[in-house]
Amino acid sequence: MIEIKGITKTYGKKQNAFLALDNVNFTIPDGTTVAIIGKSGSGKSTLMHAMSGLDRPEIGEVVIDGENILTLKQRKIDAFRASKMSFIFQSFFIQPNETCYDNVVLPLEIAEVPRGQRRAKVEAALAAVELTDKIRSKAANLSGGQKQRLAIARAIVNEPKILFADEPTGNLDSTTGGIVEDFLFNYAKVNSATLIVVTHDPELADKCDAQIVIVDGKVQSITGLDAKGETPEKPEEEKLLEEGDVEELLEATNERTDEENV
């Protein structure tokens, strides 16, 4: 569970001071997919950085699994990120002259995963994004979509419980972007991981369980998360639609229509 408590972050000093986040509060249960939505400069990326411990707000707490990571020493935060979090960025940030293997193995090296386990983990991550055949290829030879899939493989190779994605499809066309989104959501679902997507794409945001709208550093609205931070029960019809049970879906829809007519 991620608890954000009264986070405030200011950039600059005195007359140049800029309030990037202003008393932000919410709670994200484990395994939830959350979209942080807002215009450019609204503070959504700053919020992501604060949630991941990359940035330290002046006020507030980021409590993950009961521990306020903002009170940890830098090395502990680094180790925390290496073992529990990962990132996907709009610009991929892959090393073009390295092989796909060398790109993906980086988080395992940082987390000091034993050498004997690395190969299997890299292969599994590349298989998850359907890049198994590219393991020895140079990353520079991949297409844009493949590069982002490689970035996803790098992000998931250490099986993080929290995955941050900052405009993950921003540099991709809609078809390729859709494929990348599927990989992300599939990982979150299969691994019960928390996926936090920073985006200004409403379609991508709609795919998430919850949406947090940020305007000028303040939370304007939160949907999909209740006051205690729990994801509300999905409507029965939505569940049935996901499960593909058409007969049950039709029956439920008729029942609801009848109730509304009454």
């Binding site: 990359l54 830098q74 990120r81 940030f93 090296e109 940082i110």
Partner: protein, 426 residues
């Protein structure tokens, strides 16, 4: 991140910028080349001088002369010369039999042999012209390089070691052919009174060996060797009855234990003698070599110093170019210390490559050049450039450490980068 992973990743990063890595390494390589060659030259030079000293001196021998009196006042004349001998336009303090007796009483002295250095007029062989020559005493403990024949133990009376230079002029044709042949050495007896026809005497020797005109043998070169007893016999014939008889410029003190040579030198010094051990001779030559070595190492150090700035520049640019990568690594949980270490290891790799390239080239060039140098300088069987694996290893490791030191500043910059700012960098 584990150190082994950091080292491997640093190596991979360098491979991605092959040309730049190679050029920076070459800059260090120039220093490594100079330093390795200098050290090889120094090592070879020392071994060469060591060989020369072994070939020309005896570690058990201490060469002794009487100290030259240093006086600013006018000295009163003494009829007996006061232990001095005249000659060469001056007066020299000499060693007398009394001195020799005194030296023999010093603890650890085995024997004292005056340097007879008999002056001869010429040397010739049957049917050949007469040639000017010098004669010295043979020392069994000095290693000679023989062109033909050899002497086991000491020379016997009537035997001579000829120098290679005289083989042709004395009509022997070859060094091998000279062995067993007779040579004639002519001397003139000194007289205290004028004689219209000075008395001369021929001494006949059988050639026992021919010393090689090697670069090692400066003592034997141009000087034929005869036994000590025969040198004394010729000296006695020449000088007996004259005022200089029994007075010697130089004497050779033989010590029982070579390790005590320095100690006995000190005792002799206290008794008014100048003494020089084999170590002194070696030390003097080695001092000269060390000065030369120091100059060459200085050039090498300058080259390394220049390359240090090259490493700083290259690594600094590398940090700037890889700002996003650093940001990503930090976002993924790499600590600032590990980021800094990554760049220091990259610098170490550059140092290793530079050291290996420079030292390797020096080894190849030196190995190829050695026979030519030996031939050109007439060094016999000795190679002037002597490569020691340990020295090369020290050069490479030293350059790696220097490179790491040069990489500290860029590494610190990398480790202090703010990951958020780094990721935002275009």
């Amino acid at each position: 991140m584990k150190i082994s992973d950091s080292i491997r990743r640093a190596g991979r990063s360098l491979r991605q910028a092959k040309a730049r890595t190679l050029l920076t390494s070459l800059a260090i390589g120039v220093g490594a080349f100079t330093i390795t060659l200098s050290l090889a030259g120094g090592q070879g030079g020392r071994e060469y001088t060591d060989a020369i000293v072994k070939a020309n001196t005896d570690v058990n021998e201490v060469a002794v002369t009487k100290k030259m009196p240093v006086s600013t006042s006018i000295q009163e004349y003494s009829a007996d010369g006061g232990g001095t001998t005249d000659g060469f336009g001056g007066s020299f303090p000499t060693i007398t039999n009394a001195d020799i007796e005194g030296m023999l009483k010093i603890d650890g002295v085995e024997s004292v042999t005056p340097n007879y250095a008999p002056a001869v007029n010429y040397v010739t062989a049957e049917g050949q012209k007469k040639y000017v020559a010098t004669i010295s005493e043979f020392s069994p403990s000095v290693t000679l390089d023989y062109a033909a024949g050899s002497v086991k133990g000491d020379l016997k009376s009537g035997e001579i070691v000829l120098t290679e230079d005289y083989v042709d002029v004395l009509g022997f044709g070859s060094a091998e052919n000279a062995i067993g042949k007779k040579v004639e050495v002519n001397t003139t007896k000194l007289s205290t009174s004028y004689a219209p026809v000075p008395e001369t005497k021929d001494f006949i020797f059988t050639v026992k060996g021919v010393s090689s005109a090697s670069g090692l043998a400066f003592r034997s070169q141009g000087s034929m060797l005869i036994s000590g007893d025969q040198a004394k016999e010729i000296y006695t014939y020449i000088n007996e009855g004259t005022p200089v008889y029994g007075k010697f410029i130089l004497a050779s003190v033989r010590v029982a234990d070579a390790n005590r040579a320095e100690e006995i030198k000190g005792v002799l010094d206290g008794k008014g003698y100048d003494a020089q051990t084999a170590a002194d001779v070696l030390g003097t030559v080695n001092t000269f070599i060390n000065v030369l070595l120091g100059i060459l190492l200085g050039f090498g150090a300058l080259a390394v110093l220049t390359s240090v700035f090259g490493i700083i520049n290259t690594q600094y640019i590398s940090v700037l170019e890889r700002t996003q990568q650093i940001g990503l690594m930090k976002a993924l949980g790499m600590s600032a210390r590990d980021v800094g270490r990554l760049f220091k290891y990259e610098a170490a790799w550059v140092g290793f490559l530079g050291g290996a390239i420079g030292s390797g080239l020096a080894f190849i060039v030196g190995t190829i050049a050695n026979p030519f140098i030996t031939d050109a300088l007439d060094l016999g069987n000795i190679y002037l450039l002597k490569f020691e694996p340990m020295q090369i290893a020290i050069v490479v490791i030293g350059l790696m450490l220097i490179s790491v030191a040069a990489g500290i500043f860029p590494a610190r910059k990398a480790s202090r980068l703010d990951p958020i700012e780094a990721l935002r960098t275009e």
